[in-house]
């Protein structure tokens, strides 16, 4: 009975660690999100937004895009059906972007690693006051992110660009292994000191 409780404790500890500390897949997301945030907030190259139609509010600097919206930049592309952007005022930064319905995001981080993400809603916000600056990207609505190392599903995936922290609400991660699980278990080099079963 004692080994069972020990095993249970180890599983619980591993679960807590998975939620607190980014896994390799989550770390990849961190880098990619940093690239995306950099793209959105600190423009180095132009962002191009194409869509079927748009509505520009000349007073509030808000532009609403409808139908087959595509946002492209050097290291990022975003597809959705509906997008609201609060445009920069007098040389400032984009304050917020809300992308909705069939959001598909592809980006490449500074190390060249590709990240593919989908969801129903993506929200980017930037707020700067005299005392603090907040810059957050939030993917929700069955968000799913895939990298070369694995994929992650969660209720909400949030990246705080200022602190560099990625939060997954109810994460479900799949880590890619080279080879399959059968090969892994049948490896003769892996094993325990337990006596072999008698046939």
């Amino acid at each position: 009975m004692k080994p069972f409780f020990l095993f249970l404790l180890l599983v619980l500890a591993a679960t807590v660690r998975a939620e607190e500390k980014p896994t390799p897949a989550a770390a990849a997301v961190t880098n990619a999100d940093a690239a995306a945030a950099k793209t959105l907030g600190e423009l180095k190259s132009p962002i191009v937004i194409t869509s079927r139609s748009s509505v520009v509010n000349l007073r509030s600097n808000v532009v609403v895009y409808f139908g087959n919206v595509r946002v492209t930049e050097t290291n990022m592309s975003l597809l959705c059906e509906y997008l609201i952007a609060v445009m920069p005022q007098r040389g400032g930064r984009i304050e917020s972007i809300l992308a909705q319905t069939n959001v598909v995001m592809d980006m490449t981080d500074e190390k060249g690693e590709k990240v593919h993400g989908t969801g129903e809603k993506l929200l980017y916000t930037y707020r700067a006051t005299e005392t603090e600056t907040n810059e957050v990207i939030e993917l929700s609505g069955n968000p799913w992110i895939e990298t070369a190392r694995g994929s992650t599903k969660a209720d909400v995936i949030t990246y705080d660009r200022i602190t560099g922290m990625v939060r997954f609400q109810n994460p479900q991660m799949t880590i890619q292994q080279e080879g399959n699980i059968t090969n892994f278990l049948s490896n003769p080099l892996l094993g325990t000191n337990a006596p072999k079963r008698k046939p």
Partner: protein, 158 residues
């Protein structure tokens, strides 16, 4: 982007009188025989206490009166200003139909919109401008370019 200085108040009055007269005749369904008008302009001012400051201005190189208080305007330039006189946006198009009674301009032709600092550029085909709520609807083939901010901003005033 340079925004030209507005006309003096007396010229505004004459232009506005012309617009109102044409609109009134158009509303009555009478044929208009004004012919073509050069350098057409429709100014719009802020509410009091800033009633002397331009909120928006629609310019055209040529205007042809149409029935129903409407005008066919060629080579239009629409400018939107802030209270401090900063030219926020400039919209240009080869032509449009301006409805004075509804205070709307529309066209099926291509349209180009640019922010005062040049950071935001929008192109498309077919547009509707609603003067009362400062909205521009671009109906087809919309393409926006958001340029990186430049250290030497090109802020323009009227």
């Amino acid at each position: 982007m340079k925004c030209p200085r507005p006309l003096p108040p007396r010229a505004f009055g004459l232009l506005l009188l012309f617009v109102l007269l044409a609109a009134a005749l158009g509303l009555q369904g009478q044929p208009l025989n004004f012919g073509r008008v050069k350098d057409f302009m429709v100014p719009d001012y802020f509410d009091p206490p800033h009633e002397n400051q331009l909120r928006s201005r629609l310019n055209g190189t040529e205007a042809q009166p149409l029935p129903g208080g409407r005008f066919l305007i060629k080579q239009i330039k629409l400018e939107s200003f802030r209270l401090d006189g900063f030219c926020e946006f400039r919209v240009t198009a080869p032509e449009c139909i301006y409805d004075h009674t509804r205070r709307e301009a529309s066209s099926a032709r291509e349209v180009h919109l640019e922010s005062g600092d040049g950071q935001l550029v929008v192109d498309g085909r077919g547009f509707l401008w609603q003067q009362t709520n400062s909205l521009v609807v671009i109906s087809n083939d919309q393409r926006t370019i958001i340029r990186p901010p430049t250290s030497t901003g090109t802020h323009t005033h009227r």
